[in-house]
């Protein structure tokens, strides 16, 4: 069986795998970009000297 011969409907099969992995890749990129953005914002605020709110809230 030749795995690269996907029969007469190869286009549909390839397209669905592309869509699936494209969507999943978009999710992964979104998660990573979002993380980078939040970390950058956090760093900027910490440089301004704003203490982390959770540091205080943890005690109460």
């Amino acid at each position: 069986m030749d795995p690269f011969d996907l029969g007469p409907h190869a286009g549909f099969i390839v397209a669905s795998y592309i869509v699936t992995f494209g969507t999943m890749a978009a999710l992964i990129v979104w998660v990573l970009v979002d993380r980078a953005r939040q970390l950058a914002a956090l760093k900027e605020l910490e440089e301004q000297g704003i203490a982390r709110a959770s540091a205080r809230r943890d005690k109460s």
């Binding site: 996907l6 409907h9 099969i13 397209a15 669905s16 999943m24 993380r35 704003i50 709110a53 959770s54």
Partner: protein
Amino acid sequence: MAIWDYANPTRFLRLVEIILPWLIAACAAAFAVGLYKSFFMAPEDYQQGDTVRIMFIHVPAAWLAMMCYSIMAISSLGTLVWKHPLADVSAKAAAPIGAALTFTCLVTGALWGKPMWGTYWVWDARLTSVLVLFIMYLGLMALWRTMEDPIKAGKAAAILTLVGALNLPIIKFSVDWWNTLHQPASVIRLDGPTIHPDMLVPLLVMALAFTLLFFVLHLMAMRNEVLRRRVRAMRMRAASVAAPATARATAQPAE
């Protein structure tokens, strides 16, 4: 250690740091095995030919789209009943992933339908239900985006999620009813009576891979959400440096 101990966001972040690498490794391995099996091991279906390979991504996506809603419904209970601080973080982080999975499920379903049924879309009971689920995911995301205060948005979304969870079985039942009334003649039913083990194994491996991917993404999105809230709290504190978080009270008698 009870799950309650992970209510603390800092502790939660630490836990994620530990779990995440393992989860990612397992996910990658599962995908490698699953994809290999589904392309090289699984036989062609006698009826559907090679298009049956679409099943290996379509069906897991559909399963996970539904599991994701269940997780959101449980998280919503956590928000409303137990007031667990991470519950609405979990629900909010799950919604975009659920929407993406539903989208995948719809698109791959359409791409499978065209060669098999001769049409991209039929108003089949399942397809329609999944479409409704997709709209509900997007509606929930819109609700979260529109409300400024995350606590309030979390409560509102929790109510809507639970109402939706009550409604989904009713919708499913209605659509089934409606579909039997308007059954189009030419549709080939998907659910064959048996599934060959050579196909079942890759399907299950792919389902496992997608499940692991879901949890990886969910944990990462939750971590982002915790950070986002921390940033928000710090910005609010930055805005009110002059009037910090507490008020002092002095009471004195008059006259």
